[in-house]
Symmetry: C2
Subunit: 199 residues, 2 copies
């Protein structure tokens, strides 16, 4: 069946994701994926030059589908307060990461490993998320809910970094603790009193 | 020579630190430390029941000496602005961590590993640091430089967590980047506008 599919990037990534989930990132090679696709490994190496390129591409697609796209919908929402939207955006990011770290632990572990290696891809991913936050901040400045003065992108970056404890994969081992929600409240309130216009 | 020393906790930790630095945390056993001290390992096991207890105790002493004590001096300083003292305290914490991660990389690697395991000891360490920040915040509230209203300890905890990116050992791999200073500026300004009284 597999050999009937055209060999495009999506098919390769589907097969690679399937193999990576089954054997784990350390044990999966380009050859394993070629076998599932019933193509020669030479053919597959033309698409992905190395095991790490394959892992990076699978993680990139997973991040786009699981994290970036759903958050984009929130950033684009109209109506409601900007602080409410900012909180929803952050809570959705944090809840997604926490859920995937448990329910999709193979992909999450691979993402955590790739974060330490594929600096360029992760930087692009993080920049897209910061752009979404900047959009929310920008709206808040326009509606005079948030203070003007600093660049919305600079503020968005600071907000993203200041909440690392709750969404950066290196902190995943700390997310199980009950007090995490309380700690997020404290950090969110600190951020909010930093950006909200005092009336 | 070693057998002339009384076998107290400090001597054991000195020997353990020396052995850990030489062989690395993974390869050091309680037996290796006993050999350096020229005592039986039975004797040493009465003081430290396991390899991990030994690592934890060495890390605890190292954190106290290298991080907590110097920061306490800053927290206790009188005079100057509270925002200035807060910034100095955070910058000293961040610079120390960054320096040790390079210049004392064996101890730093052990500390990073222990952070994932010795939750209790690390919690006590972090709580002491947060108390120091709370003291600085408290002074700032008293002098009317900082807003009153929230508990100084809650604010201190939020500040500590919001700066994790710059001092939590899991982020050490990101500290080499040049942009870290700029990012700290952005986060510190966000924090400061959250706590400073608008005049």
């Amino acid at each position: 069946m597999a050999q009937d599919l055209p060999l495009n990037k999506e098919n390769i990534l589907d097969a690679a994701e399937q193999v990576l989930r089954r054997y784990g990132p350390d044990k999966t090679s380009v050859v394993d994926v070629a076998r599932v696709l019933q193509v020669s490994h030479g053919t597959l190496y033309r698409h992905f030059a190395s095991k790490s390129a394959l892992r990076e591409a699978v993680t990139e697609r997973w991040l786009e589908r699981s994290i970036t796209a759903p958050l984009e919908t929130i950033a684009n929402q109209a109506g409601g307060s900007s602080s409410g939207r900012l909180r929803l955006w952050l809570e959705t990011l944090i809840r997604s990461k926490r859920t995937y770290s448990v329910d999709d632990s193979e992909m999450f572990a691979m993402y955590a490993a790739v974060t330490l290696e594929a600096v360029e891809m992760i930087t692009v991913h993080v920049d897209r998320l910061i752009q979404q936050v900047a959009q929310i901040v920008e709206e808040g400045i326009k509606s005079k809910e948030f203070k003007s003065g600093s660049s919305s992108e600079g503020v968005a970056k600071a907000i993203f970094i200041a909440t690392s404890r709750f969404h950066h994969p290196s902190h995943a081992y700390e997310w199980v603790e009950e007090k995490t929600n309380e700690e997020f409240d404290a950090v969110f309130n600190l951020i909010l009193s930093g950006i909200t216009k005092s009336s």
